[in-house]
């Protein structure tokens, strides 16, 4: 498909009380923006499940947009926009890990009175996605296609939610606390150890699902360090999930 013809597909989740209202006002004011986005109304941006975002990308959307109320202005006492914020931070790192450009996922706060802001965002984000190109442009090299990688992540979502509950809870609902937490060391290392690591393991398993492979080959296909692959294989062997086939000189699923 020629680049000039590329019409981005963007899926948008807009919260009923603020962003959806802002988009309405944008329409009332007749501010124009490109026709890329297809909106799904939710009651609160905190309702947006990572599984929704992954499904949209898996279906071939080039961009996913989430719009909510400004921080501390959430229509609900529960302040779901903080949840959206946290979810997007985590998901962006995960998407990056599997080779997707994290800028395809966008979170913005738009109040019901900010019609012009909505138009500005739609125009700028639309341009951005057009620049980034269709989603299949992201990392088509490598053994696992992007769709498969997205599916691996999707299957990990329940685990990610449990991890978030146990280890990634932020004590106070303030902007500073959230910013500090996600910029911090603790988050970075927790994310790597607990989520990204598990993700790598799942990707290896997805490869082995097709056929047995040696450590070196796995490392090559996934762009991982052989030592990392060994570590995962040793642990998985101990747990009885894989076995080393002496004849093939490769690991295979049990």
């Amino acid at each position: 498909m020629a680049a000039a013809d590329f019409q981005p597909r963007i899926v948008g989740f807009l919260c009923n009380w603020c962003c959806y209202g802002g988009a309405d006002l944008c329409g009332v004011s007749r501010f124009q923006y490109p026709p890329y986005i297809r909106v799904i109304r939710v009651m609160c941006s905190g309702r947006v499940d990572p599984a929704f975002v992954l499904r949209a990308f898996s279906n071939g959307a080039d961009g996913v947009f989430i719009g909510g109320c400004h921080i501390n202005d959430c229509h609900y006492n529960t302040e779901g926009n903080y949840d959206a914020f946290g979810m997007v931070r985590i998901l962006k790192r995960v998407l990056e890990h599997i080779g997707m450009n994290p800028e395809r996922l966008r979170l913005e706060w738009v109040s019901a009175g900010e019609g012009i802001r909505f138009a500005e965002i739609m125009n700028e984000y639309g341009r951005k996605i057009k620049e980034l190109g269709p989603i299949d442009k992201d990392r088509t090299d490598g053994a696992l296609g992007l769709k498969t990688r997205i599916e691996v992540v999707s299957r990990l979502v329940p685990y990610m939610k449990l991890v978030e509950r146990e280890r990634l809870r932020i004590p106070e609902r303030t902007e500073e606390a959230y910013d500090r937490f996600f910029a911090g060391e603790e988050f970075g290392s927790l994310l790597k150890e607990v989520i990204l690591d598990k993700l790598s393991l799942k990707e290896i398993m997805a490869l082995l699902d097709e056929k047995p492979l040696s450590t070196a080959r796995i490392a090559e296909l996934l762009g991982m360090a052989p030592s990392e692959v060994s570590r995962h294989m040793n642990a998985s062997s101990r747990h009885g999930l894989v076995r080393y086939d002496e004849g093939l000189k490769a690991y295979a699923l049990v």
Binding site: V11, M43, G60, A119, R165
Partner: protein, 654 residues
């Protein structure tokens, strides 16, 4: 305004605004005519809104005997059970005059809709919201046996209730309705790209049809409303609201933590406008005690309160013993406290006092104060600083009032007011000017060079020396005062935190109570059925408190006068077989709508649908998807997402 005043036979004040009763800022000079909003004086939106509610309450008191006489019940046909039917979708695409039709090819969209799975009917309409079109819609539902309706038109935020009602009229469940926004989100914003806009409209219709097929009938439910009210706090705010509610024939339980009623007003004697506060207060207290429908509990504490709007249960421990009260609405009117400052020798020198203490001494006829040679006042003590960055609102008026009182008795007294800004707003400006005319000297100081106070001996007489930097003179000045009066901050009541936790209502960052919406809901809490008035909300004058108290009463009676409240059907529900008792949903729900309960299969989460506000955060946090937000379930959203995929095959392959 003059013409209006003449027509209605009401008086205007010297400034040309409506003259109001100082004891009731919504009463005009004529009985039965009330005023709200800026006609009574310059006023911001929150006050306008609550004075409107208050004026309504006052009308309610007069008209209560007629309440409901003209009201009629809506009768809907019986709802058809569609649960065993396959989806039969009707799609209605609106032209909205030329608003949609000029850009989106509506007939083509209708044709497209007919190709979609489960769509058995599609038609276009010029204005689908018009009475005839809505009737036509209801008829077509019945004719074609439709059990899902998709309207592709404007934004659901305006007309969704209208169409839901239309479905009820047609005999099917109102939640089987879906709205596609092809105007605000389509024709109006892509008006130069009619082809793309038409394609987008088709995509949105396709998504809505897919979602609609998955929608389930949901029941809204009516909950009974208990007709009594609970008022927490027996100051002016609590008493005024209690009386207004009781005058509209509801029983009121008024709870006061001290032995006597009155709150802060017990320490006030006058206002700038000349109100005799003690006389007003005594009259108010008498009315409260004499009212057959008001039950007063003094020396009271509240050990526990539970329930939800229309159905609260509160236990009260008081000098009358232990009581358990059932009530439908609650008003929080716990007032505020006076800061006891640490600066300016307060507490260490008995010549330094607060404005309230000064006022008491003036009215008790304390000769030493009344005959003093000079007195200095310092404004903004303990607020508008790092500790409390708000303004206490009442102190400028308070200082001017006390200064004028002192001058009246002793014109020769030298009075200096050290201020940062004089905020004698609205008509209090007149009194500021009068004080100035009477030689009260106002000296501005900057917060960086706040005054200093020390004790000195001058000519054998002990004095308080107040040194300050006068920004007009550009020099430091020293004032030797016999007495020093501090305008100290108004701080949240010490019971605020406890009350906030008990009733699960929010405090703002400064420790005062936080309303649901500053402008649109100035006396409501986000928690339904609980209202707020008085200085518990933020420091305010007596007149403003009375205003807000009537406003809160109006809101409470609007709730209590109904026989039931309707809860939305879009609430969360737990599928117990999938619940792994992790508690993520309970943590997410600060409305307290979810709890655990014991089942033979272990601890399971359970939603109280009445408390559920339908945000769905619990759903997003649940690892197994056991808890789902009805009408926005995972399945429904997945269907909508999957239907977003365009019909034509993409050139790309993932």
């Amino acid at each position: 305004m003059k013409g209006l005043a003449r027509t209605f036979g009401i008086d205007l004040d010297p400034h040309g605004f409506c003259r109001t009763n100082p004891l009731n800022p919504m009463e005009t000079s004529r009985k039965g005519i009330f005023v709200s909003g800026a006609f009574a004086g310059p006023m911001d939106i929150p006050e306008s809104v609550l004075s409107a509610s208050g004026a309504a309450s006052l009308c309610g008191e007069l008209l209560d005997y007629q309440r409901g006489e003209l009201a009629r019940d809506r009768l809907y046909p019986r709802e058809r059970d569609t649960t065993r039917e396959d989806p039969r979708v009707g799609v209605y695409v609106c032209h909205c005059g030329a608003n949609i039709g000029k850009v989106v090819n509506v007939p083509s969209a209708v044709q497209y809709a007919l190709t979609l799975p489960n769509v058995v009917h599609a038609e276009e309409s010029l204005f689908i919201c018009s009475t005839e079109a809505a009737q036509r819609l209801a008829e077509s539902i019945k004719e074609k046996g439709l059990n899902r309706v998709v309207v592709a038109a404007c934004t659901p935020r305006t007309h969704e209730p209208l169409f839901r009602d239309t479905l009820r009229e047609a005999g099917i469940n109102q939640y089987l309705f879906e709205f596609a926004n092809i105007r605000e989100h389509c024709s109006w914003v892509h008006s130069r790209e009619p082809e793309a806009a038409t394609q987008k409209a088709k995509d949105l219709i396709r998504m809505s049809v897919a979602r609609a097929c998955r929608l389930e009938p949901l029941q809204e439910f009516d909950l009974p409303v208990h007709k009594d009210a609970l008022v927490v706090g027996g100051g002016i705010a609590g008493m005024v609201s209690a009386l207004s509610i009781a005058n509209q024939r509801h029983e009121v339980h008024l709870v006061e933590k001290e032995r006597r009623l009155g709150g802060m007003a017990n320490r006030l004697y006058s206002t700038l406008e000349g109100m005799d506060v003690q006389a007003y207060l005594n009259d108010l207290v008498r009315k409260v005690y004499e009212h057959p429908l008001i039950h007063v509990y003094s020396n009271a504490t509240i050990p526990e309160t539970t329930g939800y709007v229309g159905n609260f249960v509160t236990r009260i421990k008081s000098s009358r013993g232990l009581h358990e009260i059932k009530h439908g609405a609650t008003i929080i009117a716990v007032g505020a406290d006076e800061l006891k400052p640490a600066e300016y020798l307060y507490g260490r020198d008995e010549r330094v006092m607060t404005q309230l203490e000064l006022e008491k001494r003036i009215h008790q006829g304390d000769k030493e104060i009344l005959d003093a040679k000079n007195l200095v006042m310092i404004q903004c003590v303990g607020c508008r600083n790092e500790d409390r960055n708000y303004c206490s609102r009442v102190c400028c008026n308070h200082a001017v009032k006390n200064a004028l009182e002192l001058k009246r008795g002793n014109p020769g007294m030298d009075i200096y007011v050290l201020f940062r800004d004089m905020r004698t707003y609205r008509f209090a400006e007149d009194y500021y000017r009068e004080a100035s005319r009477n030689d009260v000297r106002f000296i501005r100081y900057e917060p960086e060079s706040a005054p200093d106070v020390e004790t000195v001996e001058e000519e054998g007489r002990p004095a308080l020396r107040v040194t300050a930097f006068d920004s007009i003179l550009g020099k430091k000045i020293a004032l030797d005062a016999d007495y020093l009066a501090l305008s100290v901050a108004v701080i949240p009541s010490e019971s605020s935190e406890e009350v906030s936790k008990l009733f699960k209502v929010t405090l703002g960052p400064d420790g005062f109570f936080s309303e649901a919406h500053v402008k649109l809901r100035p006396v409501d809490f986000s928690a339904e059925g609980i209202f707020l008035c008085g200085t518990a909300h933020y420091p305010k004058h007596i007149t403003e408190t009375i205003n807000q108290a009537y406003g809160a009463a109006g809101r409470a009676v609007a709730l209590l006068s109904r026989d039931s409240v309707t809860a939305s059907g879009s609430v969360c529900e737990v599928s117990e077989t999938d619940c792994i008792s992790c508690g993520a949903c309970i943590t997410a729900c600060t409305y307290g709508a979810i709890d655990f309960y014991q089942t033979p299969a272990g601890r399971k989460a359970r939603v109280n649908p009445v408390l559920c506000k339908g945000d769905g955060l619990c759903n997003a946090k649940c690892p197994t998807g056991a808890i789902q937000l009805k009408h926005y379930t995972d399945e429904e959203i997945f269907r909508q997402l999957d239907a977003e995929v365009p019909d034509e095959p993409e050139c790309a392959n993932l």
